[in-house]
């Protein structure tokens, strides 16, 4: 009850402003008696009584996070992360709907800007056999652990690589999600009227391998891609049909949109996002003493189905199998094996400019996750590693997190990349290897 502010006109107004009409229409609900007159005093009295009725919960956290590279990168700053952040989270569970607004304001000492990042701003309306969620929202589905096949909602890989909280790996979508529920199966439809690309690697903050120059590049050669930008034309549509069969979660997926990171170059050498359709399926459930998952997806590169266009990514098949088990008390281990297969590989190889290193037909990737909880589960040691035997590269993420008390937590970790070649997915980020530390106060 402490957090439900009884009279907080300011917040209500702020909330109304930020969520637009949703907030307004919602507020009229709890109180049906119209204002007696138009006198300002009566108006404020009315606002006041609404505010009392309005079940607004306000939470959030303040955080300071700092980190640096431990290898010298000529293309980037030594400081990999340095920011102070405030997240505010407003939630109003009303009678017929709920409203949510969550935003971050952070001062970034690396870019020397203050950023406003609205993470969520949505309205959820439940019906008998349908749920509707409209507005900015975080969306996730699929069975992978930090590997996404049928989850084509936007990711923020920069945040992930520089050591922000895992929460920031998921970038928000401006979308409408409609979910239908039936005894036979459930259906989720997500319509994003304007394509949301991944917040991917552009050379800003993280250096990368530039295939044209055949060298590492960073702030000196930022990729600026042409993003599809026509509302309701450059849309994304994602759907999931799912049901449980006993304890097994089964799902089919479909997606129509674009490659989430620039998957092609136009004749002028400018990066763009070619069309992409994805069809897939997954199953997850108990196996032996743990949980197993299986997921596949067919990535149909609609602009280059034959694979003869060297400037556009070929179609791909993606396969994932995973298993998680408790190894001992408060100690869990998880393994995944993931394969990306380039379809029409011969056409890809033949069309590739001779100077460019060719990708393998099959990219193999394994992940290992180990998590140990100690001191009444207040201390968490975790280790997550990607290892690709075909690319000969590794991305390791060891992390330690300690909850000092109910509100305060500290955390520290590494993002370490290495590989045998400068052009492989993780190998190219070698110079970006970094460490970070953070302190967070949640309220």
């Amino acid at each position: 009850m402490k957090n439900r502010l009884p009279v907080c006109t300011l917040f209500i107004l702020l909330f109304t402003l930020l969520t637009g009409v949703n907030g307004l229409s919602a507020q009229t609900e709890p109180n049906t008696s119209p204002p007696a007159d138009n006198h300002p005093k009566a108006f404020w009295h009315q606002i006041d009584s609404w505010a009392k009725e309005f079940p607004l919960e306000i939470h959030g956290f303040g955080e300071a996070r700092a980190g640096g590279r431990f290898l010298n990168d000529p293309h980037e700053k030594d400081m990999s992360i340095m920011e102070t952040r405030l997240q505010l989270d407003f939630f109003a569970p009303l009678e017929q709907m709920s409203l949510k607004y969550k935003a971050d304001i952070y001062g970034d000492f690396v870019t020397k800007y203050v950023h406003y990042d609205m993470r969520e701003g949505n309205i959820t309306v439940p019906f008998e056999t349908m749920d509707l969620k409209v507005g900015r929202q975080i969306l996730t589905w699929g069975t992978g652990d930090l590997i996404f096949i049928n989850d084509l909602f936007p990711k923020d890989w920069v945040s992930f690589f520089i050591g922000r909280d895992t929460e920031y790996l998921k970038a928000p979508s401006d979308a409408a999600k409609v979910s239908f529920f039936h005894d036979w199966a459930n259906l989720d439809l997500v319509f994003t009227p304007l394509f949301d690309a991944d917040r991917g690697i552009t050379g800003e903050r993280i250096s990368y391998y530039n295939p044209f120059s055949g060298d590492l590049a960073g702030e000196n050669a930022k990729i600026s891609a042409d993003e599809p930008d026509r509302w309701f034309h450059d849309y994304e549509l994602a759907l999931r049909l799912y049901r449980n069969i006993y304890a097994y979660e089964c799902a089919l997926y479909g997606y129509r949109g674009f490659w989430k990171s620039p998957g092609g170059f136009d004749p002028a050498g400018r990066a763009f996002y070619p069309d992409l359709n994805v069809y897939g399926g997954s199953i997850r459930g108990p196996l032996a003493k743990g949980i197993a998952n299986l997921e596949i997806g067919y990535y149909q590169s609609a602009d280059d189905e034959s694979g003869k266009d060297s400037a556009i990514k070929n179609s791909e098949m993606r396969y994932l199998v995973g298993y998680t088990q408790e190894l001992a008390k408060d100690f869990t281990g998880g393994l995944q094996y993931y394969v990306e297969q380039i379809i029409n590989y011969d056409n890809y190889v033949h069309s590739l400019p001779s100077a460019m290193p060719a990708s393998d037909e099959f990219r193999h990737l394994m992940t290992l996750r180990l998590t140990k909880l100690l001191i009444n589960q207040n201390l968490r040691l975790s280790f997550f590693t990607f290892y690709s035997p075909s690319d000969s590269d590794v991305y390791a993420r060891p992390q330690i997190n300690y909850k000092i008390n109910d509100n305060l937590a500290i955390e520290s970790g590494f993002n370490v990349f290495f590989g045998d070649y400068p052009y492989t997915f993780f190998g190219q980020f070698h110079q970006n290897s970094n460490f970070y530390g953070a302190v967070r106060y949640s309220f």
Partner: protein, 277 residues
């Protein structure tokens, strides 16, 4: 005449009470009734739970803290919704966290299976990532949310896991000694349960380690009757080895609230009203 009659009546009454006291039900009956009493009241139910985890600098062998010095105090608050698939059988649990702030709106859901060959299905929902996770069922004697309560204490240990014997019948309690069928699967040698003879409510459990030394106790500190169901509204675990106690206080307890089937992915992503408020 009057005195004689009342005298006879007295003797008769005394005799019938005596007879009732003699009539001790067999141990299976007691533990089954106690199990229903502790975990299956009503068809479904809701409670708000306030948890306080206190660890002490020093504690004596009986579990009393020595001195006032506390190492740390942690709190949790959550709403717990329960629905029985079958009395004494399968159950569903939905736990929605309100505090502390860093786990707020997180949901933990269990489909509990009474068949000991079938693992429970556990789900976790992380709202910041909109992520539904499956958790390997694993060791049920693992701490529940970092407290001294174990998963098994919250949802009940299967009666088939132990051998039960009526160790003693006191004026107030049946004392049942429980010895695990599979001793390697647990950290205790045996535990005693004190069951109230009047209503079959288990009110105290004492655990003894492999050397036969007392080390852990769960006790019901407050019992109230809610909608005609005797209900533990304050319980406490003391762990001597960890020098730690956890109190669970139940408020807003309601039974037979006619919960829909909220134990699905739909309600992980969109918590039901019953959980949010």
């Amino acid at each position: 005449m009057k005195t004689l009659l009342s005298g006879i009546l007295m003797v008769f009454l005394a005799a019938s009470t005596w007879a009732a006291e003699e009539e001790v039900p067999d141990v299976d009956k007691i533990i089954n009734k106690a199990n229903l009493m502790a975990y299956y009241q009503g068809n479904d139910g809701k409670a708000r739970v306030n948890m306080t985890i206190t660890s002490y600098e020093k504690m004596d062998e009986k579990g009393n803290p020595i001195g006032e010095e506390k190492k740390s105090v942690r709190t949790r608050q959550f709403i717990i919704l329960r629905s029985d698939v079958k009395d004494g059988g399968d159950q569903n649990y939905y736990v929605y966290f309100h505090k502390p702030a860093d786990v707020r709106r997180m949901v933990f859901m269990v489909h509990k299976h009474a068949d000991i060959k079938q693992d429970d299905d556990r789900y976790l929902y992380l709202p910041a990532l909109d992520l539904v996770k499956r958790i390997a069922a694993g060791d049920k004697r693992t701490s529940f949310v970092g407290s001294d309560f174990l998963y098994e204490d919250v949802s009940g240990r299967s009666l088939l896991e132990d051998k039960h014997e009526l160790a003693e019948t006191t004026e107030k309690y049946y004392i049942i000694k429980n010895t695990p069928m599979n001793p390697d699967s647990v950290e205790f040698k045996y535990y005693n349960v004190y069951i109230d003879r009047k209503n079959f409510m288990p009110v105290k459990m004492e655990y003894y380690d492999k050397n036969g030394k007392f080390y852990r106790r769960i006790e019901a500190l407050k019992i109230e009757t809610i909608q005609n169901y005797p209900t533990v509204t304050l319980s406490k675990v003391t762990n001597v080895n960890k020098k730690s106690t956890t109190e669970m206080e139940f408020s807003e307890v309601q039974y037979d609230i006619e919960l829909k089937d909220i134990f699905t992915e739909r309600y992980l992503r969109r918590p039901p009203r019953e959980a949010v408020r």
